[in-house]
């Protein structure tokens, strides 16, 4: 719930606006396939985690003892994924799908001058020119943003994908 005191309200609105901006920029950069700008939104020591479903109701909670789809504990993992599709040697990127990222229901859970934590809902429309088909992925984000010298960066992102019967290929640009 929003705190109704004017100062607190201003801070909440500011945090929500920052979160909205960073997430919208992330989606925009992915849609434009501007990978460098996308990578630059992440802190070098970020965590990027896509857990999977353990059963009908619960996703995996411990990446050290349970399976995840993606678990990177630094930006290096994301950089490697970009490097891979840039080699033009992966059929998954020949051609790349066109995407539209939509992020909504952004809620700030906690905020300070240095950190903003929150959740959001996401939907990616995904058009594959290879087969002329549009599909979509959707789910929830949990995120932590950090205020750095270079601006607000994504320090932690957990992507919960709604489905547990996946398509043949799924990568960062479709999440």
């Amino acid at each position: 719930m929003l705190d109704q005191k004017p100062d607190a309200l201003t801070a909440d609105i500011r945090a929500a606006r920052i979160a909205e901006q960073v997430l919208a920029m992330e989606g925009r950069f992915l849609d434009l396939q501007d990978w460098d700008a996308w990578l630059d939104l992440y802190a070098p020591d970020c965590t990027y985690w896509v857990p999977i479903w353990m059963d009908e109701d619960t996703a995996t909670t411990d990446p050290q003892s349970q399976m995840s789809l993606i678990y990177h504990t630094s930006r290096t993992g994301l950089e490697e994924r970009v490097l891979r599709i840039r080699t033009r040697k992966s059929v998954t990127a020949m051609p790349l799908p066109r995407t539209v990222h939509m992020v909504s229901n952004i809620l700030v859970v906690s905020q300070s001058d240095t950190e903003i934590e929150g959740t959001a809902a996401w939907n990616v429309q995904h058009y594959d020119p290879r087969v002329g088909k549009r599909t979509s992925n959707c789910g929830h984000y949990e995120f932590t943003l950090a205020n750095t010298a270079g601006g607000w960066k994504i320090a932690r992102k957990k992507v919960i994908l709604l489905d547990d019967m996946l398509p043949a290929v799924i990568d960062f640009y479709g999440l």
């Binding site: 896509v50 999977i52 479903w53 353990m54 059963d55 009908e56 995996t60 990446p63 050290q64 003892s65 349970q66 399976m67 995840s68 789809l69 993606i70 678990y71 290096t76 490697e80 994924r81 490097l83 891979r84 599709i85 080699t87 040697k89 992966s90 059929v91 998954t92 990127a93 087969v131 547990d164 019967m165 996946l166 398509p167 043949a168 290929v169 799924i170 990568d171």
Partner: protein, 471 residues
């Protein structure tokens, strides 16, 4: 075409169909030829025959004993088109039932896994205990059943055969299969090489990754034995590896091979369609295996299972247990099963396989290695999955004539004798051996021979039965 075959009326079409299927696999390996008709990847009639006579006509892998360790644990699965429940009963015995209510057919248990002493059907609340007995018919007294009705006559239906080898559970919908051990033949050796990795055997790392690809199941079957595709299909993965070496984010490769062993790849083929390929690498991309993280673990395996067994545990091995399971041991171990949904769509269920009781740091390394390569999100398997879709697309050109994808390895071999026959205690295996760039394709033949044998057997029997019925 051939619509008549589906009905009961005519005897001739089943015989015709048998001839058609025989023409689909042209096995002249002795003279250097082996051809598989493109239609077996796209044709719906062939698909129906496969489901009925291949998947529902032989042993299928259905799960691990360690998935259901406790009384009343269960997991659900499919054998061919049939949903089943693999259930440990209250006394610890394992059963496999068709997952369907005896009252009016509702799927009894729609969950993937769980623990239930009694399954209550959601439709009219008939109840079955974990041994499969029907223990309650709701409102039975008021149901005006005939005197002859007895709920004891309505237990869950068991599949025809259920056996386990080293914790790997297999089931068959038909009785007409050899004992599991005979069915597995030499392939059992490679299940041993998985099971022997821990003193208490192996388990799944929690969390199944399930996905579909728009291609025929046999594309996965072939790919899991195909060393030839690696350099081309996984070129982008190799680039990432190079980058890791250059930037020092990956530990340098390490070999476990002795000085007298050459780099090589090779294959073994067995009865009933099973086959395996191996790679012996000494430089370049040699995986740092999780199992070798702690030298004490290697010592324990050596003491328990022997030096030769350890040597083979550390080699890259891809096993196919026909018709529905592959076990891959590279930088991590994957056990995958498939379920054909249509000629052009296949469902995969995949797990990271690991020694029970493994140290937490080793387990974490294994999981990271696994995620790196496997899964639709992995840097390797996603390329494979997409290639199956591209091959399926290409096979739609059904009139384009023979393919030549089953011919490597049909010429003269590099060696006169299998160099590993003794190490593997494997005297009768059908083997091929060559350099890392060998890419044997004759390793697929056993699967196609078994495929044909099962369909021929099923069709001949059905044809005979029809002939008797119409005589």
């Amino acid at each position: 075409m051939n619509q008549r075959v589906r009905g009961a009326g005519s005897v001739v079409p089943l015989r015709e169909k048998l001839e058609m299927v025989r023409g689909m696999i042209r096995d002249e390996a002795d003279s250097g030829k082996f051809h598989v008709d493109r239609k077996i990847f796209t044709d719906t009639e062939i698909f129906d025959l496969e489901m009925r006579y291949v998947f529902e006509g032989t042993w299928n892998f259905i799960g691990l004993e360690s998935q259901i360790p406790n009384p009343d644990d269960y997991v659900t699965a499919h054998i061919g088109r049939h949903p089943v429940i693999l259930q440990r009963d209250h006394d610890g015995e394992i059963h496999c039932f068709y997952n369907t209510c005896r009252h009016r057919g509702a799927v009894l248990c729609p969950y993937k896994q769980g623990n239930k002493r009694v399954h209550v059907c959601r439709y009219h609340a008939w109840s079955y205990d974990s041994s499969g007995n029907c223990v309650a018919v709701s409102q039975a007294e008021d149901g005006q059943y005939h005197d002859s009705f007895d709920k004891a006559d309505w237990p869950l239906m068991r599949i025809a055969r259920l056996e386990s080898y080293r914790g790997f559970i297999f089931g068959s919908l038909t009785d007409d299969v050899p004992p599991l051990k005979d069915h597995l033949g030499g392939a059992a050796k490679f299940l041993d090489l998985a099971a022997d990795q821990g003193p208490q055997g192996v388990e799944y790392v929690p969390g199944e990754v399930a996905y579909t690809f728009d291609g025929n199941w046999k594309l996965q079957f072939e790919n899991g034995l195909d060393f030839y595709h690696f350099a081309a299909t996984h070129a982008s993965y190799m680039e990432v590896m190079k980058h890791r070496e250059k930037t020092g984010t990956m530990a340098p490769g390490k070999t476990y091979e002795g000085a007298g062993v050459d780099e090589a790849t090779g294959t073994y083929s067995y009865v009933h369609g099973h086959a395996m390929m191996y790679a012996i690498r000494k430089q370049g991309r040699v995986h740092v295996r999780p199992i070798a993280k702690d030298p004490a673990v290697l010592d324990e395996i050596r003491d328990r299972a022997g030096e030769d067994q350890l040597k083979w545990i550390l080699r890259q091995r891809n096993l196919t247990v026909f018709p529905n399971m592959q076990l891959v041991d590279i930088s991590a171990m994957q056990l995958r099963t498939w379920r054909p949904l249509s000629p052009g769509k296949t469902e995969m269920r995949t797990h990271c396989l690991a020694p029970i009781g493994e140290a937490p740091e080793t387990r974490a390394l294994r999981i990271r290695n696994y995620e790196d390569f496997f899964n639709p999100t992995g840097l390797g398997a996603s390329d494979d999955n997409l290639m199956y879709e591209y091959v399926q697309y290409g096979y739609e050109a059904g009139d384009a004539g023979d393919t030549s994808g089953y011919l490597r390895g049909l010429g003269e071999g590099a060696l006169a004798e299998d160099p590993f026959a003794k190490e593997l205690n494997h005297p009768t295996a059908d083997w091929k051996y060559g350099p890392v760039t060998f890419g044997d394709e004759s390793v697929f033949h056993a699967g196609y021979r078994e495929w044909l044998r099962l369909i021929e057997r099923g069709l001949s029997r059905d044809a005979e039965a029809e002939e008797v019925a119409h005589a």
